[in-house]
């Protein structure tokens, strides 16, 4: 053995001489790198599947999906994007988990050891990227469960495969971004910040204009998607968005590999792939920003302005129901409250009732009309101004598309709302609006009758109805409007916005209290009284007191709080509408 160096070199007396000759042969072989990558990827995928972060993301995503889907009418052209909202949370969790995995060697101080292994950093990074397949089961589980739930709720239309594929790609792209971050920044904060940035880009789309929202181009339109009577052909451009997400995922993967691979050929390949991915992403973004074809919007305007030309109308129990194609499943749900009211009517009005779906879309929304000339937009606006539903009529009830809930408490509210609208038609309370203020059936017996009919037809919870008084009974609050210079306490029942277009009259607290007292009487007795002089009770001059006297019940009274009597100033916290403003007082409902 030899030893040389700057210092004294002590040679052992019995130093072994080097063994002679060439001796051992060494083979330099190229082991199959793909198998190493796949074996590593399998381990990484299993770690990702079992990650507590991914599990938490799955649960959070499920919760968010449920919260988004539950309150709205299940329309597939909106629901699949709501499902994507839940996938976003899973994507954020996968991003953090992937960043932690990619930064593991440096964080756990094994970087030196890993550097001594034949599997290079590039191999490990590629394995991480392929290991993102471990997030696919969670994403598919969430997607599948959401699709089943939406379908079970009787969704209209069919799910869009490109949109759902985009949901899956969102999770993959987020994971790839996490790996790209982790190869550069091992600190866990970097992953969490990355997840927050991802969340922010989707939570703030309402701030962007047409040119700046190419990441989520129809983010603004999403708010109006639920108002469409059917899917717009090719819009949102889900296929292009899916391609964009795929491009972004590839870019993130390239960014991750660029740090870890060496060699001119590998880097050249990455550069070429990167250029291609950028091109695909930009092209897909540009495709998404193309204007919606004029023909599509023309057809949409026709559907809005002249719904009769496209709707299917059905007559049941002498009531006409007109629904857009695909909404036939709502028919039985609509008939129930209407028939419930009709069953108690001594007689029907001469004009038959029509229950019609209507669409209310904002054509000034730039994501809907961008790229079209102003003149064309104005024309569309003008056409939709005269659509049914824009001006209420006495013999029609209008249901905005997307407003009819599928199930639960909101459906009960919607049933009551429809029953009440039917009852108002039956007792001939007109849907009068003057200066934007609905009329008030002030001291009109027919108001209490209408509320009584609606309660009988749908049996809503008494507590919920009482909540509509706004704390009046307990003295905790007061709400009212001014009619003929008189402060009138009002009744705004919960769920007033669910169901038909809110163009009905403003009901009074006295009317509700009288109806509530009527429900305490035997139904037959009330029916007898009403039937005996039906035409009289429908007269707008027939007062609440007369009805109460006829039924033998005490007339309810709602004294005004002292601060609201004429001449006094209302205290803070009290809701007064149109106080002391004659021009904005509510008119009395007159047939």
């Amino acid at each position: 053995m030899t030893a040389t160096g700057g210092g004294p070199a002590l040679r052992g007396t019995g130093a072994a001489t080097p063994a002679g000759g060439g001796g051992s042969g060494v083979s330099v072989r190229r082991a199959p790198r793909l198998r190493t990558v796949l074996a590593l990827a399998r381990v990484e995928a299993s770690l990702l599947v079992r990650s507590v972060l991914v599990l938490a993301g799955l649960l959070a995503g499920a919760l968010v999906t449920w919260l988004l889907v539950r309150p709205t009418e299940p329309l597939w052209w909106r629901a699949d994007l709501e499902i994507g909202g839940g996938q976003l949370l899973l994507g954020m969790a996968v991003l953090v988990a992937a960043q932690l995995a990619a930064g593991r060697p440096r964080r756990d101080a094994v970087a030196d050891l890993y550097a001594s292994f034949p599997a290079t950093a590039g191999t490990r990074t590629l394995a991480h990227l392929i290991g993102l397949a471990g997030a696919v089961p969670a994403s598919l589980l969430l997607l599948g469960a959401a699709v089943v739930v939406v379908q079970e709720r009787g969704a209209v239309g069919a799910p869009s495969i490109p949109v759902l594929a985009g949901c899956l790609l969102l999770v993959i792209a987020a994971g790839a971004a996490g790996i790209a971050i982790g190869t550069r920044f091992a600190h866990p904060l970097a992953g969490v910040l990355g997840a927050l940035v991802l969340f922010t880009t989707s939570a703030t789309t309402h701030l962007a204009s047409g040119g700046g929202i190419w990441l989520l181009p129809w983010g603004i339109l999403q708010g109006q998607l639920g108002s469409l009577p059917g899917p717009l052909a090719g819009y949102p451009p889900a296929g292009a968005h899916t391609a964009e997400l795929a491009g972004l995922a590839v870019l993130a993967g390239i960014a991750a590999l660029a740090v870890t691979v060496s060699g001119a050929r590998a880097r050249g390949g990455l550069a070429a792939a990167g250029i291609l991915a950028v091109a695909v992403t930009c092209f897909a973004g540009a495709v998404q920003l193309r204007p919606i074809p004029t023909a599509e919007l023309n057809h949409l305007v026709t559907e809005i302005a002249d719904p009769a030309s496209v709707q299917h109308c059905t007559t049941a129990n002498h009531v006409r129901y007109c629904l857009y194609p695909g909404f036939g499943r709502d028919l039985s749900s609509l008939e129930a409250p209407v028939n419930g009211v009709l069953a108690y009517l001594p007689a029907r009005p001469g004009q038959p009732l029509t229950v019609r779906q209507v669409v209310s879309l904002d054509f000034t929304d730039p994501s809907l009309t961008h790229g079209h000339p102003e003149r064309q937009i104005s024309r569309w606006n003008a056409q939709t101004q005269n659509a049914p539903g824009s001006a209420p009529t006495a013999s029609a009830i209008y249901l905005p598309v997307g407003s009819w809930p599928a199930a639960g408490g909101q459906l009960a509210d919607a049933h009551f709302d429809l029953a009440l609208a039917t009852a108002e038609w039956a007792v001939r309370i007109p849907p009068l609006i003057v200066n934007g203020q609905p009329c008030v059936p002030f001291d009109q017996a027919r108001e209490a009758i209408a509320i009584w009919l609606a309660i009988l037809a749908t049996h809503p919870p008494a507590g919920e109805l009482t909540d509509g008084l706004g704390g009046l009974e307990t003295g905790r609050g007061f709400q009212g409007v001014e009619v003929r210079n008189t402060m009138v306490p009002t009744w705004n029942y919960p769920g007033a916005a669910a169901g038909p277009t809110p163009s009905g009259p403003q009901l009074t607290a006295v009317g509700y209290l009288l109806a509530k007292a009527m429900t305490g009487l035997p139904e037959r007795k009330v029916s007898q009284v009403l039937t005996s002089a039906w035409a009289t009770w429908l007269n707008e001059r027939t007062t609440d007191a007369q009805l109460a006297a006829a039924l033998g019940i005490r007339m309810p009274s709602v004294p005004l709080p002292p601060s609201l009597r004429p001449g006094s100033t209302p205290p803070p916290g009290m809701t007064i509408v149109n106080a002391n403003q004659p021009a904005l007082q509510n008119p009395v409902c007159a047939t």
Partner: protein, 292 residues
């Protein structure tokens, strides 16, 4: 071409005038050495350059100057460097762990990184090294639940995966109790394939017990190569015992028998000379290097 076969020259590992600096500090200063198959011990104080040398041999770090040849392969070439790593087992001085991994899971992961892609063979390898270091019953235990000694054994185990031809162990016995150190010696002695083993340690008795060759590295330079007996012989006639401290000695300490042991150049007249040990030879060398 899938395979290339090279003929190597005499030494398995050759280091030619290798130097390495960290800023103003010269960690290695034109080190020359060759390593044959068998166990070579690397002795040296803290800061001598042992870890730097071992990391260069493990292809983790690269020298500023000089050349390294491992089995005739040059680590400066990327493909040959990877090939070296396929034949390498390395235990760094400070090895972190993925604490949430299980013992078997960590070894399995390292085995994959060593390109043992066949699942059955990998399982066999993991079982083999676990049995070799006596952790087979801890296969499913999370690393964070292991004691320090067990983690050290785990580190040795991962180095043994794949039956490496070059085994580089930086302070492998740190944290091991005496019985485990004995087992470790046994393990190294029974390794199949007669690999080149380099281990750095502060424990001179480990060197004496198992290393046919020892290198003493001081201040980045090799100061001795030879057998442990030769290292001990360098202190012949320069180690003595007495009942009192002798100020002429370079080093003095009181042993368990309450007698003073001295190392120096000039024992006092009538001093009771004792048989020097490997440690004595190393201490004398170390003192000489420091006095210069």
């Amino acid at each position: 071409m899938d395979q290339m076969t090279l003929n190597v020259r005499t030494a398995a590992v050759r280091v030619d005038r290798v130097s390495r600096r960290y800023g103003a500090t010269r960690a290695l200063d034109e080190v020359d050495l060759t390593l044959e198959r068998g166990i070579t011990g690397l002795l040296g104080p803290n800061g001598a350059g042992k870890t730097t040398l071992l990391s260069i041999l493990a292809t983790v770090g690269e020298p500023d100057a000089g050349r390294v040849s491992v089995f005739g392969l040059d680590p400066r070439d990327a493909a040959q460097r990877v090939e070296i790593r396929r034949r390498l087992g390395y235990l760094p001085q400070e090895l972190g762990y993925h604490r949430h991994f299980t013992v078997a899971g960590f070894l399995d992961y390292v085995a994959i990184l060593k390109e043992i892609t066949d699942r059955r063979r990998r399982a066999e390898e993991v079982a083999r090294v676990l049995a070799a270091i006596g952790l087979e019953r801890r296969a499913r235990t999370r690393i964070r639940a292991l004691s320090g000694g067990m983690r050290q054994r785990l580190g040795i185990a991962q180095a043994l995966l794949g039956q490496p031809e070059l085994l580089i162990l930086d302070e492998p016995t740190a944290g091991l109790d005496p019985e485990q150190r004995l087992r470790f010696r046994e393990l190294l002695s029974d390794l199949p394939g007669d690999p080149v083993i380099v281990l750095s340690t502060h424990q001179a008795d480990d060197i004496a017990a198992i290393c046919p060759q020892v290198i003493v590295l001081l201040r980045g330079q090799v100061h001795f190569t030879g057998t442990p007996a030769e290292l001990a012989a360098t202190a012949a006639g320069r180690v003595w015992a007495a009942g009192e401290r002798d100020d002429r000695a370079h080093l003095s300490w009181r042993g368990g028998d309450n007698r003073w042991r001295h190392i120096g150049d000039h024992p006092s007249a009538g001093a009771e000379l004792v048989t020097p040990t490997v440690e004595d030879g190393y201490l004398l060398l170390s003192h000489a290097a420091g006095a210069r």
